[in-house]
């Protein structure tokens, strides 16, 4: 095993080992647990830094382990994996800080942080998976690792939400597994290849390939919350705020979307998928999801539920980008993988702060929160405006490239979807901002926490949203700078469309 093959393995182990160690930590050893958490998160970030540098310079990082004849566990890093790995590593660090602050006085922290780390390990595994079987393995591991996080609170509601989550994701997992095996029985064992590896299969397999695409898409669509497979997502909102943040921005939902991107670009190949007529199916599903999610978000009074439906809608931008043929739309979809992540995690951090500090859980209770918690509300506003697509925040860049890509591909209906969706985004976010900043605050908050630091809330809860909000702004302002998400995605697109 060479150094180059060690790097992807080390990136997974940097959260797996601390995670397993944390299970063994006694409940009252805050310091040791915090130390393990932070050591893992920082190590991972450093390793990912090396990986970014290496992949940019064209180095190959690959590790292989034979599981059975014809079945290999492959970890490798291409530009697309790096995009997802960096997002996960960065947001894991921020979320860990947040979670330590958020759960400071709640029970079962060793169990929580153990599974939290396993969850990130699985996500990074998904990002680094170099072939479909490896992807399936980590995808299922992610299901297993997130179940205890959703059920964490142990209330009947939480256990029920977790059960629904599991029913959806495991059924999706079965579809994905069968699709993956069927595909391998046609193509033989293959690694993910830029441009796909199926286009030279014989014409006779056309029907099978379409059926396999549908199976795989069903499996991935459950986690990506494509309508009508999204039912678990609002139910799993019972999880603690850091879990929701991670689920919506990095781990579960994003894993599904990332899988769709892999499926279109590196298994079928975007041109071959187009030739089979599969992009139309994907585009229709994505558009339906975008509009449906936004419409449902409008009607929610619970803040986290509104954010959940907003996720349903926003994540499908990624699938929409993948369903349009052409490099510019690809850029728009892929860059949203990162942009949606940083914006949505900001919003969930803020929602957690309102709940934890003031006991505010509903939109209708948010009158005047901006006066009581100006910094949190500033971060929330940046995230929300970004989601609507106001320049110069990150979300604008995504929508701009999606729109341009649609024009380039002559898919003008996409512009209509984008316009409608932006209107709906504004309709469910702007009233919140109006309430928060301009309505008078009530005499007493529903359940104000006695603990607060020097600022409006504890530092560990305040810094993470401020930092991620800054990311949202910077990703938009500095979109043209080297190593910005946009620049990196352009690199991927150049490699996909030579």
């Amino acid at each position: 095993m060479t150094l180059a093959s060690l790097l992807p393995v080390a990136i997974i182990l940097s959260s797996l080992i601390p995670g397993l160690a944390i299970f063994l930590v006694r409940e009252e050893s805050h310091l040791l647990r915090g130390l393990l958490n932070m050591a893992g998160a920082l190590t991972k970030l450093a390793l990912v830094g090396v990986l970014i540098w290496g992949v940019y310079h064209g180095h190959v990082y690959e590790a292989r382990l034979a599981l059975a004849p014809g079945l290999e566990l492959v970890l490798s890093a291409d530009a697309l994996s790096v995009l997802f790995v960096s997002l996960s590593a960065l947001l894991w660090l921020v979320t860990t800080v947040y979670a330590i602050g958020y759960l400071e006085h709640s029970p079962n922290r060793s169990r929580f942080f153990g599974f939290f780390s396993l969850c990130v390990s699985a996500t990074v595994g998904i990002a680094l998976a170099g072939n479909l079987p490896s992807f399936v393995i980590f995808y299922e591991l992610l299901t297993l690792a997130t179940y205890p996080l959703v059920a964490h609170r142990g209330t009947p509601d939480a256990v029920r939400g977790a059960r629904i989550y599991l029913a959806y994701t495991l059924s999706g997992g079965v579809a994905l597994l069968i699709g993956a095996i069927w595909l391998q029985s046609l193509s033989g064992p293959q690694d993910f290849t830029q441009g796909g590896y199926l286009s030279n299969l014989s014409e006779a397999h056309r029907g099978a390939l379409i059926a396999i695409f549908a199976l795989l898409l069903a499996g991935l669509g459950v986690k990506a919350a494509l309508v009508p497979l999204h039912g678990w997502l609002p139910q799993s909102m019972v999880a603690p705020a850091p879990v929701s943040a991670l689920l919506h921005a990095v781990a579960v939902v994003k894993a599904g979307a990332f899988g769709i991107v892999r499926l279109v670009y590196d298994v079928y190949g975007v041109e071959f998928a187009h030739a089979l007529g599969l992009l139309g199916l994907l585009g229709a599903l994505a558009s339906l999801t975008i509009l449906y999610g936004s419409l449902r978000a409008l009607a929610q009074d619970g803040l986290k539920k509104r954010l959940a439906y907003s996720t349903v809608s926003q994540v499908s931008y990624i699938a929409l980008g993948a369903s349009i043929l052409g490099p510019v739309a690809t850029i728009g979809g892929l860059v949203h993988l990162v942009h949606q992540g940083i914006m949505k995690i900001t919003l969930f951090f803020c929602a957690g702060n309102y709940a934890e500090t003031l006991g505010v859980h509903r939109v209708s209770e948010m009158d005047g929160v901006g006066q009581r918690m100006p910094l949190t509300t500033l971060a929330f506003s940046l995230g929300a405006l970004g989601m609507i697509g106001i320049p110069p925040i990150a979300g604008f860049v995504s929508k701009w490239y999606l729109g341009l890509g649609a024009i380039e591909a002559q898919a003008h209906w996409v512009l209509l979807i984008l316009a409608l969706s932006s209107l709906l985004n504004a309709a469910y976010f702007l009233p919140i901002l109006y309430r928060a900043w301009f309505r008078p605050a009530p005499a007493a908050w529903p359940e104000e926490s006695p603990r607060r630091g020097r600022f409006e809330t504890q530092g560990a809860l305040l810094w993470p949203p401020l930092i991620t909000a800054a990311f949202c702004l910077l990703a938009g302002l500095l979109a043209a700078a080297p190593f910005s998400p946009l620049e990196w995605v352009e690199l991927i697109a150049r490699r996909e469309y030579p």
Binding site: F23, L24, R26, E27, E28, L65, A66, L67, A68, P69, G70, L71, L73, P107, N108, R109, S110, R111, P133, V136, I137, E140, L141, L144, Y147, P148, A151, H152, R153, G154, T155, A158, V159, A162, R163, L166, L170, S171, G173, V174, L177, I178, I181, W182, Q184, S185
Partner: protein, 478 residues
Amino acid sequence: MSSLALAVTLPLLGALLATLWPGRAQPLGLAASLLTALASAWVIAEVWQAGALRLELGGWSAPLGIALVADGFSAAFLGLSALVALGSGLYASTYFSTREMQARFWPLWLLLWAALNALFLAGDFFNLYVTLELLGLTAAALGALGATPEALRANLRYLLIGLLGSLTYLLGVTLIYIAHGTLDLALVGAAITAGPVDATALALMTLGLALKAALFPLHGWLAPAHANAPAPVSAALSALVVKAAFYLIARLWLDVFAPLITPWAASLMGLLGAGAVLWGSWRALRAEQLKVLAAYSTVAQIGALCLFLPLLQGLPAGAAREQLVAALVLMALTHGLAKSGLFLAAGLVQRAAGHDRIAELGGTAQRLPATTFTLGLAGAALIGLPPSGAFIGKWLLIEAALERGQWWWVVVLALGTLLSAAYVFRVLSRAFNQDPTPGRFVSEARTELPALLLALLATAGLGLASAPLWRLLGVAPS
């Protein structure tokens, strides 16, 4: 002395000594366990080197004498027995706290192990019959150790059904002897003809073994017997004793009688397997007690193993067949390890709660993090989730089914997977409640760790590091 002979005689000797010195049964038993496991490891090492072993007892060669034989297939099961018996034995040394129980447990336990090893190494039909009888007797006696009325009733039934099974098997053996004048497996295998006698013999032997393996619809005796036995015994019964009968079915169908098997016969076995997968999983899902759930899940697993038979039928010797047989072994081994871990953990939950009613487990599961973790790991392997060995086995099974155009087995496996996920998580979800946080991960290392290690071997060990097993089974890495 040869390793093959040691693997059978050491546990026998241990059983004898433990009977003679009941006061010292435990240390003697543990020492004999360790030595037996070492002897098994030696057999495996020799098979690894030489591919196959044969020992003519007393220097008499077949058809006159009897032989012990070992190949990769039997070595793999020998290894499974050693791991499960060692882990469960260690667990039992704490689980049975009185000298009296220990004095009863160890001789029977070592006899059971000797019978298992002898079965896996036997080279002729009559030896197999003797080991089957010994296995059935010791298993029923061990199962009744708890001496509750339910345990006695269930195990008496188990004993009688076991006797019926071995007698049916013996009937088949008689036919073989009449037709071929020998009982040596290899010689009979070479002389098999597609006539009614051999076919009847196979049918009788399979029927007898199916009774012992609790193959659907002959599984009725299993749940009460396994659920009422003490935990370490249930672990061995479910992981090893039932698997031993299936091992023999596989030997006969894939090896000795392979030319006789028609597509119809193999499909029938597959159909029974499918019934077992669905019905066993369904009953496990409806079970009210944890150990009953585990027992029905065993019924489903034997069914899953039977699904390999229709896909192996007619598959010519070669890489594809070897791989599928290896996948079968991998799945059987994973199930064995996972099931023993599950039963051991269930025993701890039962002891801590005073009962094993799933609906009322709540706080107990949360108080025992390591044990709940074991239930989770074992459960993941039973469902066939990655990275367990069962996942790989399932992958290859589905691949074979799709390649041979028999997609209906895929539907059965998909349903089985979802049902088993439902019953596993029905238990695990009890661990999430608002009871006080447990202080530490492991509370009693000597019982919790063997269970955890067995479950971990099933999930991570056989999943990620199964390369040696493929090599042992003679499958070339590709």
